[in-house]
Each structure stands twice: as C-alpha cells, then as structure tokens.
Symmetry: C2
Subunit: 644 residues, 2 copies
C-alpha cells in the first residue's frame, strides 16, 4: 500500500500502481470525468500513470492552469494527427501549449495552407476527437526512437532526439499519430469537445532567420462548446476594446519613432487619467500613514551591486552610461533608492512602521519583439512603496496592504481577481531561498492568515517564492473576462541586511527591519491599458478626461453655454463646449463616440427655465435639471469615484 | 564733431576726442562722480578714453554689472600694488573680477601668506586708494612689452604676451604698479572706499595640477562702507541660512554616495514642499489653459540630432546608452518630447495657443567640481511648459507668462527681481542668429512692450539672445539680498521648423507655430534651495512639511491632543503630536528649532474650556482659541498661500 496526501492534508492508502484517475473514480465518477492530469509530488503527470510510492496528489481539471496546458498540448497532437491525415509526408517540429491555446510548427514542403484548409482540419479534428482515442505513453530506448524517426524520414524529431538521453525518452500515441513527447496528456481525445484553429504564421526553425521557415498553426480548444463561444465573443469584444485603438481615438498616449519603442508619450487626456490615478493613490496612502519621497532615475553601478540586481538582473536593465570612470544605470526598480532614504536618518522602533511611497518611473529593457502597446513597455510609472517594519508589526501591515488592494478593486469594479501566493521549498533553503526557516514559516503563515481572514481568493504555488521571501502575484480579469497580471506584493528578509538597514529596538540594540514591497495599482502603463479595455474607453466620470460636454442647439445659446462652463470650471469639473455650427444630432453622436460621460444640451427651453438637459453616455436622456442640481450630483459622483 | 547716441535714443554732438567722463561732466558733476566706465558701441571702455567716431554710449555705474566688474578688476590691480610693496619680487599671473569681487593669482616664492598678512594688505590698499591714483592706459608695442617683463624677470606675464599680437597690447599703471592688461579700469583708486580680502587659496598655474601651485587671494570692494557692511552681514546671514545645513536639519533632502553626486534624494519633508510647489504650478497652469503631459526621461539620439542639441550640447548631457545598435540619451530638456506631442495629432488654428506643461525631470552633466548642494545638480525637476501659438497670439501669450512670473513672485514675497532681456545683433543674422529679421524685430519689441506695460523691471543686453529668438533670464534676490538666477523664458522661431511642426491656418494652408519656452519656478532643486535661504527654513504654513505640532503639557492630555489631531487631519492639515514625556518648555523650544509654524499647547485649562493655546513660530503666544476657530483661520491662511 502507498500513502497519498491530498491538498487539504488528508492522507489515504491505496494499492501501489493506482493511477490518479483510479483515485478520482474512487471518489466520484463526476470528478473522474473532469480530471485532465494530476500533480504528483509537484510534477504534472498523465492521470492514467500508475503511482508506486507515497506521494502528494492534486487532481488537475480545467480550473487549474496546468490542467488547461495539458488539454491544449493534447489538442496540438490531435491537430498534428489531422494534418498528417490530410497532408501526408508533413514533418513536425514542436507543438507546445501557450497562454491561450497551442500551436504546432511544421514543414509542409512546398504546400501552402489556407484559411479553407484550417476549416477542413477543424472538421477532421472534431471527427478524430469523437473517437475517444486514448493518449498512450510509452518509454522508448534512444536507439529505437532514432530508428523510428529515421524510418519516418523526419530530420526535425531526429534533431530533438540528439539532446535527449536514454531513459528519458517517451512516445505518445493517439489514434494513428505517434509523437516524441515528454507529456503529460489528457486521458483521451474525447475530452476535446470544441476547438478553433485561429491563425497561420511563419516561424523560422529554432527561431533563427538563417534557418528554413516552418508553418505555424495556432488553435484553441475547450471541454465544451459554451466555453469556446464565450472565448470567441471575448476575442471579438477585446478587438473592439483594444487599448491601442482606444488609446489613439481618445488621445490617451502615443509612440514616436525618434523617442523610441516602448516609451509612451502621455497625451493631455492620458495625463489626466494618470494624474487622477496618482491622486487616488496619494490620498489612499496618506490615509494609511505613508510618507512620499522623490528619487532620481539613475544611480551608480555600486547601488545595484549592493542590492544584488547586478549582475543577475542586468539583461532587463538598460546598458550603463559611463561617466568619470563610473557606471550609471537607469533604475529598473525603486527599492534601492528607498532603502537609501530609510538609511539617511537614524531610526528607532518608534519610527516603525516606516512607509515610503513614490510613483517612481523605472526603465526596463524588454526585447523589441516583446513590446506591446501599454502592456509591455520599457518605461514604467510604478505605484510603488516599501514598508519597513518589525516582525510584530508584519501581520497588521500586510493586512492593510491587502485591504488597499481590495479597496482599489472595488473602486474599479474588478470583481474577479486571484492572488497567487508563491511559497518557498524547505528543501532549497540556503540555495534558492534565503536560509531563514523560521521567518519563512512565520511570514508565509501570516500572509496566508491575512488572505483567509479577509476572504481574499488565492491559490498557493509551492517553490515559486522570491529569493528573499514569499510573494503574491495579483491577477485580475477585465469585464470581458480577459486576464491581466497586475502587480506583485512581496515580503523581503534579505535586502534589509544587504543594505545594512537598522533600527534601534526597545532594548536599545540594532535590528534589521522586514520590508514589504507593494504596488497595488501596478504601473500606469499596464493599468491604464487594462482600464481602457475594462471600461471600453468609457471611463467613469472621475477618471474621464472630459467629464461634461455642453452642446448648444445653435450659436444663439453660446453665451448661456459659456455661463454653464464657468460654473462647471469653478466646481473643478472638466468641461468643454461644442461650439461648432452643427446639428444637435451630430453633436450628440460625436460626443457619444468620444465617450464623454455627460452631455448638457442647451436651447430655448433650457435658457428660459435656467436649466440643462442632461444626457448620460450610452444611457440617453435623463431629463432637465437646474445647473446647480446637476453640479451637486456630479460632484458627489466624482468625489465618491462612482463606477457609473 | 561726432554724434553720440544715448540709450534713450537721444543723439548729441561732441568734439572728436571727447571722453565718456567729459560727457558725464557736461551732464552733471554728481553723475561724473558715479561713472566707473562706459559702454561705447557695445564695448566696455575706460571712461577717460577719447572717442573719435560716431558712437552709441552708455555710462556705467555701480548699478551696472559691467560697472561692478570694472570696479573689482581695478581693485585687483590695487591689491597687486599692495602685495608688491609688502612682498617685493612677487610675480603675478592673472587677476580677474568674479561673481562677487575679484582675485589675483601670484607666485610668492617660498613665502606663505597668513590671515594676518591679509589684514596688513587691506590697510595698505586703503592707504593707496586714498592717493586717488589714476589708472593710466598705454598702448605698447609687443617688443617693448617683452623687454619690460624680461627686465622685471616675470615669466608669467611673458607667457601671456606670447598669445598677444602687436597692436593689441596695453599696459595699465596706477601709482607704482604697472600691469599687462586689456582693461578697462575705473578712473582712479579713490573710487574704492571700502574693501575686504576674504580668502586665500591655492591654484595651479593654468589650472593644470602638473604646474606650480600659485597663491590666490580673493577680495571684494565697494564704493562706500555701508555696501561693504551690508555685504558682510549678508554673508553672515547666508551662512546661517545655508540651504545644505537647513536641508539636513529639516529633513528636506540628502545625497548618497552609491546613488551619485548631484542626484538629490528628496526626503519625506522635502517631498511635501515640492508636492506643494507642483500643486501651485498645476493650479496656476490649469487656470491659464495649459494641458499637462507626461514624457519619458530618455530618447533616441536622432531626436536630439533633429533638435540640434547634439552635437552642440553633448558635453552637458549624460553619455549615451547603446542598445540594439541605437543610442539613447537621458533628456537634458523637455522641449523635443513636447514637440513630438504637438505633432502627434493634426492641429488647426483653432487648437492654438496649445500649451503643454510638465514638471519634467531632466539630467544634465555638471562637472563634479561644479556641484553645489541643490544649486548645481545633475537631476533637475523643471517647471517646464511650451506654448505653441501664432504670431498674432504671441503678445497675449507672452504677457500671460510674464504675469505668471509676477504672481509667483508675490506669493513667495520676492520683492527684488529683474528680467535680463537678451536681444540679437542685426549684424549677425544668419550666423549667430536665425535669419528672420522681421520676426526678431517684431518679437523683441513685443517682449519689450510687455515688460514696459506691466512695469516689470528689466535690462536689455544686446547680442546675447539664443540662436532661435530673444531670451529673458530672470534674476531674483532672497530676503538677505543674495542673487539667484531662477529661470529662462525664451521665444523660439527655429525649433518649430526643425521639427516640422505645423498647423492649418484660417486660409487652410500650413504654418509653423512660434514657441515660447518658459519655466517660472525654475527647477525644484534650485527653487527649494532658494526658498530655504529666503525663508531661513521657516516656510509659510502652506509649504511647511509639518504645519501644526500639538504639545500636551503632560501625558494626561494625550487623548485630548489625539482628538485635535483628528480634527486637523480631517481638514487636510499636516499635524503631529509631541507625545514625549518632556517638560512643555523643552517641547516648545524644540518645535521652534524645527521651524514648525504653529504649536498648540494643551493642558488642564484648554481641556476644560475645549480650546487650544496657539503659539506662532518666532512670534510667541497668540492666546487661546476654540479648535474650530483655529482650523478655520488656518485653512484660510493655507488656501491663500499667505506668506506669513
């Protein structure tokens, strides 16, 4: 008998050779139908693979990232089978799962594949899927594997085999298709109920443009049709909400060739949005007892040698500027500068927690190919802060930070989010992780406690912590269901020591503070990109660059419009007049397109009754009001940062 | 007869060979007594030098910078005479005027000079000054000059003579001292009524440390004793108000070796000050119709080639970072980025004036030896903006900018300021100045008009404009009378064209806008440095990092103090409690030292009567008030940005 430990800590005994699928079935048939793979001792396995030793086990379903990856990887094999049946003689390179789906790179010889071919392949794949073919794993000696692909005349797989050792080579077969593959795979093709081949692209073999160009086919698949439909709707919607398209239409940001790739210039409208975000952060941080600081964007090499970012992080930093024999680097993070401010004046326990905040601008070098609108940039305005505290203060401080995240999510109507709590692996203390077993246990359990007590949704990920402490990655979903990684929240035992940060404790001796790194609003770049999609460019009033547009029905009412404008400006409301001699219908339509929250239509009736006719973006006519009444309501809406 | 044109445009006729001094005497004896030198056709001359041609003439007195420089240069000669009489055999190198006084470098052989020697020299100088010795100018053939200094065995002056041509060599003699000197000088030594030798330093010959070290004696002199006394008092006061000393005491800023020289880290208190300054700028600029933008701190080389900053300004920029074969530079100015934002979206005349503002952070490379506290730094947070306008709009725009300067001066209690209007020289059009004769005339006269109509004190400086338009340098004086160069205000015809900036005019054709560069609050670095001295660290309430300190007489009153603190915080007032168990006298003294504007003393009486006893920094007890009353008054003081 072997002992199986489940995620909740429960331990049960099974026959040696039992598979994860057997165990799932022993629990319920319903569960077994959902199991795609299993995490055995932290490694993802075929659900059907027999287990012979005491193990920890997690059954993986569509709800787990590893479950999804396995599903998509198996669909890549299914696609290969379909391709081979339609285009005999095709040679395959690799076919991994990606963020949303999978691809397979293949050599089709002189043949070109068309959109029509994709539709044919989809039909073939669906047909093969229905056969419920099992994905069969087989360990193969290297010589036999080489023989197999020599016979198949496949130079690509033979190339892959060169890098593999005897004893670690496995084949997977489903239906008529066999592939060299490490696995794991889903139990059988029948799990794949819905699929779509999304794109054809060229890809140089091994990414080297001197090599032959292969054909890459992208696809995505799901365990039911509804999930595919939702996904396609989301894609369609995401296209409309593309932050690059909206960013241009609404005058939010621009790029310029002479300034450089990945370096956004924030246009006047975008600058209003980021200014409002900074106001929110400053207010929130001030209430939470943070002090603001301002630090330079460069520092000497020695600062980053002290922090340890050099040489390890060097590839993500801009190259140095050499001056008077000293190297200066653009900062890629604000922490070292903040640590220097902590150290600038002596600290006692009475000064702690000491919270330093700065919307610091960092520069990181992303490969040109990786750059994408505001999502992947080289200049990052970061909602950064560092909290220096004692061990005793840690729980409360971390809880406050967590509450700040939740507060922000509420303001921005982010209903779906999850915190990925990355933990250390006790076996790797002193190597991958700083050797502080007690501090690890203590802070991990404090962090977990906070998440549980505040009802914050989270998942635990073993062996993914930072070197210097547990880490939380925050993932959020936009209204259309697209996932964004927003920010990281880290506990740090190590930097305090590296920078020799100290405070005098109650016993009058020196102690090193714990440090919390946090950035709930992430970077302006990514967050504004997210918000553009999330709101489809229809910012809530408090964030809208122009909050009110006054639309006089004809030029005759311009003076009245001017009066209203003055009243609005006095109340710090961002307003404009559409003073063109256009028909009111056209003015309304165009203001709608510019996604301005409120329109005030003024004509004969409004002037006579000293009112304005209020229209709300995408809601239409709200009727007439006095100007004062409108302003009072709007002021409340703005100061509450109401989401609609 | 020759025609003399005076600064007011008046033209009078004089005998050829008349001197500036003769002309001054013909006007009044009183004036003649003040004339130190004269600007003849834009060149500074001895007042006694005969004029043989039609000329423009400006009589220079102590009130002119050139008058002062001449005065100090002549005092350097006087000092040399005194040194030679006390230390015979001394050899002199050069003795120029500097910002505040003069120095002379000399080779004293093995002799060392002491403070006591300086006092002796001062006495000797005063004695020589009283002799009213005339400064005699004599043109000398090169051979004769060489002969003279060979005889005197003076290698230094012989070295200087090497670089001079026959026909341009002059000697100046006063009393027993003759020097090789281009001049000009004041009429006679009697003008020097008060003097002080301030410092002895070592200086390598020609600034090269491989050469012999010479002795440099610094001094300063004045046309009357009161000016000297005022100057010494100012120096004494400036020492107490040294922004580096106050900056440390008040937690405003710090430097760190690992971050780098000239790169200030703004501590929490300093960050509050700069945040308040930015708030002021943002409010003011919003009212004036500016739009805010945010731009990256780096750009490709090509941007600065387009702007023309490269290669001409390269020495003042940080060296490039080379990435993917492209050079990136830290920005030393914000204009090119702003021009790119102007160009990002098409503009019509209706969009003009288009005003872009940013507190942009620039990086400039100053030599380490030049760095000085916040006054000379490498990181500059600049109160920058660029106004793009038509020629027709220029007058109003420039007037508004000027009014903004005046508004700020009023807020900060800057009573003494002057604008130096630098003009072009028509003879150098197409070389030193962009060849737009009409635009030069037009904008110069518009700028002059604005200055005159608004009663702004200004001086005109010919031939000192920027390449691309007239320029105004703004000089201000702190309360103790020290001069600071604050900011520049420039008109620009050239950059618009270099960047191909365009707008569609009313005739539907393309036109290039004029650009105004302006930065009324200069940089945070220099302005906060100035304010620290100006206010002696006693910031007005709106700028003070901590505005109110609550001082409970004993721990018993802490809960009451807490209540008051909450009320103050609710009103957005920056307040703290001194909760130490110290005597109230000590608490008051220490709060005074921290220069916190208001202290609220609370004890038995205050609790019973629900009041606070208010003390104002350096003014003492203001009596008891209700908390609400105090808050209401303080809110008014803050929102008015009252200076006291």
């Amino acid at each position: 008998m072997i002992k199986i430990t489940f995620p909740d800590g429960a331990i049960r005994e099974y026959q040696a050779g039992t598979s994860a699928m057997d165990i799932a079935r022993s629990i319920s048939e319903g569960l077994a139908k959902k199991v795609l793979a299993a995490s055995v001792n932290g490694q993802v396995w075929d659900a059907s693979r027999p287990i012979y030793e005491d193990s920890t086990l997690k059954l993986l379903t569509w709800d787990d990232n590893e479950g999804k990856s396995t599903f998509w990887h198996s669909t890549a094999h299914l696609m290969a089978e379909a391709v081979e049946s339609i285009f005999p003689g095709v040679k395959f390179w690799v076919g991994p799962p990606v963020e949303n789906g999978f691809y397979y790179d293949m050599d089709l010889g002189d043949r070109h594949i068309s959109e029509e071919d994709l539709r044919k392949l989809e039909v073939k794949m669906a047909e093969l899927a229905k056969q419920n073919n099992v994905y069969l794993r087989k360990e193969v000696p290297k010589a036999e594997a080489i023989e197999y692909f020599k016979e198949k005349n496949d130079p690509y797989k033979l190339d892959l085999l060169q890098g593999l050792n005897d004893g670690e080579i496995t084949f997977y077969t489903q239906g008529n298709f066999t592939d060299l593959c490490r696995g794991p795979h889903i139990p059988n093709t029948g799990f794949i109920k819905a699929l779509k081949l999304t794109n054809i692209a060229g890809a140089y073999w091994k990414g080297d443009e001197k090599n032959k160009q292969l054909t890459r086919i992208y696809g995505v698949s799901f365990p039911n049709q509804k999930l595919l439909d939702d996904y396609l709707t989301m894609l369609e919607e995401a296209k409309k909400r593309d932050h690059r398209k909206l960013g241009k239409e609404l005058g939010i940001f621009t790029f310029d060739d002479e300034v450089g790739p990945g370096l956004p210039l924030w246009l006047p409208n975008g600058s209003i949005v980021i200014e409002e975000l900074e106001k929110l952060a400053k207010e929130t941080e001030e209430d939470a007892g943070y002090k603001r600081v301002v630090t330079p964007h460069i520092a000497k090499e020695s600062l980053y040698l002290t922090s340890g970012h050099l040489p390890y992080y060097q590839e993500s930093m801009y190259p140095p500027m050499e001056l008077d024999g000293t190297k200066y680097y653009l900062k890629a993070m604000n922490c070292p500068h903040h640590h220097k401010i902590f150290a600038a004046e002596p600290k006692s326990y009475k000064d702690l927690p000491y919270r330093l905040a700065e919307y610091g601008t960092c520069y990181r070098f992303e490969q040109s190919g990786e750059l994408f609108g505001l999502m992947r940039v080289r200049c990052l305005h970061m909602n950064d802060a560092h909290i220096y505290c004692t061990k005793e203060q840690f729980f409360d401080e971390f809880k406050s930070v967590n509450e700040m995240y939740l507060k922000y999510f509420k303001i921005f109507g982010i209903d779906k989010f999850v915190m990925r709590l990355s933990l250390h692996d006790p076996k790797k203390l002193g190597q991958k992780y700083v050797n502080e077993p007690e501090l690890w246990k203590e802070t991990e359990s404090l962090v977990r406690d906070v998440l549980i007590k505040t009802g914050t949704p989270f998942v635990e990920v073993p062996d993914e912590a930072a070197f210097y402490g547990p880490k939380i990655d925050v993932q959020i979903w936009s209204t259309i269901g697209r996932e964004f990684t927003l920010a990281t929240n880290q506990v740090d035992f190590a930097q305090g020591r590296r920078f020799k940060l100290e405070f005098t404790n109650k016993e009058n001796s020196s102690e090193t503070p714990l440090i919390i790194h946090r950035a709930p609003l992430g970077t302006h770049e990514r967050f504004v990109g997210f918000l553009l999609e999330h709101y489809s460019g229809k910012f809530p009033v408090w964030l809208a660059p122009t909050q009110v547009k006054i639309l006089p029905i004809s030029d005759k009412f311009l003076p009245y419009a001017q009066n209203i404008l003055q009243s609005l400006k006095k109340a710090d409301i961002r307003a404009e007049i559409d003073d063109r001699s256009e028909k009111i219908g056209k003015k309304i339509r165009e203001t709608e397109l510019m996604k301005i929250p409120y329109m005030l239509v003024v004509g004969e009736k409004e002037v006579n009754e000293n009112q304005v006719s209020v229209r709300r973006q995408s809601k239409g006519d709200l009727g007439a009001q006095s100007v004062d009444q409108f302003i009072a309501q709007l002021e409340t809406e703005i100061s509450n940062r109401a989401s609609e």
